[in-house]
């Protein structure tokens, strides 16, 4: 099949995207949210005119608060600052009311996180990711345990993980770029988005692998032989409509959520969208060709 024949091209394309993403993550870094670092996010809504971010920053700084940045949100200003102490909220509320230029302002959201809470969340997040990855390898190796020719069931698990990394690194890279240019922060929801991508991506990959497994079994039962690359190509052909349709519906839902779901889940949905596109692409153009490439390697060796 086309995809299998030209696998080098798709590997290269993905390789470039992954490298670019890694570069973005390494160079600009992911901007961690306050829930990981500790600190405060303050969302202020103005009844009439929203003032310039610098204005609010000055107001708060002059009152002695340590402000990291102030940016314009969907409904006012979003402030990132130090962890608040007892009574600080009232002080800020007072400042907002006294501000000469500001029409009546209200604190819409206040989220203050102590450093220990942030540390715990970081730890939990890492544990969650590691556990999910281990679970996926084990599960795939287990369900594909009867398939051992021409490549072992562990290879399927391994390839699934490579695909996963691909699907996670690319949205993370996009996030790093957005973080640099528009101040998007990688918070808990970002991590949830990555983990959801893990689930969706595995789902996609498994459907193709399942078809390969079935076709291999058919050949075994009929005692016929077929080139592994042909079997994989045929399996891909049989599943790509489904892969596309499924992704398309999920993407439709994500787009609806992105546009109608409100500002709180904007970046969450964006991460999922990028991940879903990468996931669909990789399940067709990376996972199965990689299986063939590994099988070919073994044959040569």
């Amino acid at each position: 099949m086309f995809v299998i024949r030209h696998k080098i091209f798709f590997f290269a394309l993905s390789g470039i995207l992954v490298l670019a993403s890694l570069f973005a993550i390494g160079y600009w870094g992911l901007r961690p949210g306050v829930d990981f670092t500790g600190g405060t996010i303050l969302q202020v809504r103005y009844a009439e005119i929203t003032p310039a971010p610098e204005e609010l920053e000055m107001l708060l700084t002059e009152a002695g608060f340590e402000v990291s940045n102030v940016r314009t949100g969907d409904n006012g200003l979003i402030v990132r600052m130090e962890t608040l102490e007892e009574g600080d909220r009232d002080t800020i509320q007072g400042l907002l009311a006294s501000g000469a230029t500001t029409s009546s302002a209200t604190i819409e959201r206040l989220s203050s996180v102590g450093p220990s809470v942030g540390e715990e969340l970081r730890r939990k997040t890492i544990v969650a990711i590691v556990l999910v990855v281990i679970m996926i390898i084990l599960y795939i190796a287990f369900t594909f345990r009867k398939v051992s020719k021409p490549i072992s069931s562990w290879t399927y698990g391994f390839v699934a993980i490579v695909t996963l990394l691909h699907d996670i690194i690319i949205p993370a890279g996009v996030f790093a770029v957005l973080g640099y240019f528009s101040g998007l922060e990688a918070d808990t929801l970002f991590v949830v988005a990555l983990l959801t991508i893990l689930g969706l991506s595995v789902n996609d990959t498994i459907v193709v692998f399942d078809r390969i497994r079935e076709n291999l079994r058919i050949h075994q039962e009929r005692n016929t032989k077929e080139e592994f690359s042909l079997t994989v190509g045929k399996s891909l052909e049989q599943t790509y409509v489904r892969s596309f349709n499924t992704s398309f519906t999920v993407i439709l839902v994500l787009l609806v959520l992105f546009f109608l779901g409100g500002p709180t889940i904007h970046s969450f949905m964006l991460t999922l969208l990028v991940g879903q596109v990468a996931g669909t692409y990789s399940s067709i153009f990376i996972a199965s060709p990689l299986l063939v490439a590994i099988a070919n390697q073994k044959k040569v060796a």
């Binding site: 009574g87 959201r109 599960y139 439709l252 109608l260 709180t264």
Partner: protein, 437 residues
Amino acid sequence: MNARIWAVTILLAAIGLGFFVFYPKENQTNFGFRLGLDLAGGTLLTYRADTSGVTSSEVDGAMDALRQVIERRVNVFGVSEPLVQTEQARLASGEERRLIVELPGVTDVDAARAYLGETPVLEFKLIGNQDDLISGATTTPVYVATGLTGRYLTGARLDFGGASGGGVIQEPIIALTFNEQGTELFAEITRTHIGEILAIFLDGAIFSAPAIQTEISDGKAIITGANSVEEAKDTVQKLNLGALPIPIELVGAESIGPTLGSEVARAGVVAGIGGLLIIAIFMILWYRLPGVVAAVTLAIYAVIVLTLFKLLGITLTAPGIAGLILSIGMAVDANILVFERMKEEIMSGKEMKEAMAEGFSRAWLSIRDGNLTSIFTGIILFYTTTSLVKGFALTLILGIVVSMFSAVMITRTLLQAIAPKQITPTVRFLFGSGLSK
């Protein structure tokens, strides 16, 4: 025929269920769903409990006592459906105990925490360097905790007495009553330390320091030394609300205004309905008759999930709604897998009935594997992360489990009910897909 009876039963049951879930009752908003803080607006406070003064075997008990005390205070505060939980956090520096207080509808963090934070920590302490004080080696007494704290209190009462004050005027005194454990502890302390000073600390500051006269075994103590009747009264009230057994410190606060909350909630509902509609339209356009069946199944799926939410009392949050809508995507995936497979079987020349059976049985493995890994991911997320993510994980798991049931069982029954016996050109068109004729 059987399948048709089942299909009608399913449809009627779904309509009944939908009626039960969505029929608004009197005095009920949100159709009776529990909304999380991010949707309803409210305050979430996270406290770190200082357990350094408690032995490790007693920590659980102390945390439970702490929770009860805070719960009492919250109830006095007059918040509907508050939630007070304890949490255990493992950090690099060791274990940390936390107390999490959710106050729906309260948006003023400072007012809330001022109320909860009024923490009369009541402690009884002995002087540890009695000898040095007597010999004059030092003048500052060192106080040693006795283990007797406000945790063992059953009640406090304002009283007036003159005897202890040397018969002067009626002096306000605070009468304390200990529980069984406290009584024992108090008796032991007073028995073994007769003549010594037993200092009473309130909120870390010394309140009074009477000398122990005799052993007190009835579990009653009296605190004198209040500056005014008002102060004594205030203290009694706070002690009755519950002295905190261990000190707490605020480490995190989150408050969401009601406007923002309702905006998010509305956006979630709109996105949910929009998502369902757009999927239904796509499925009908692409898969024709089976697509219609899939759309009906989706509606039934939504009803079942929402009913479960209500019955299980699951709190709806923004990430939770996202998880739910995502599971719709996965529910459709199962349908797509089946329909694609069915189409293949029809094209290979099989009878309709056989093609359907094959379609479902062949697609099942993929559906199972894909959904199981997602469920496992959900379970891991649920057990390893914080409440925000838990909401997402829970609805995702629930959604996937229900979708596996609906996409396989319900779709199959409905399809069998409408399955034609012969494959005529019309049937071929109705069961075809995409751009084919």
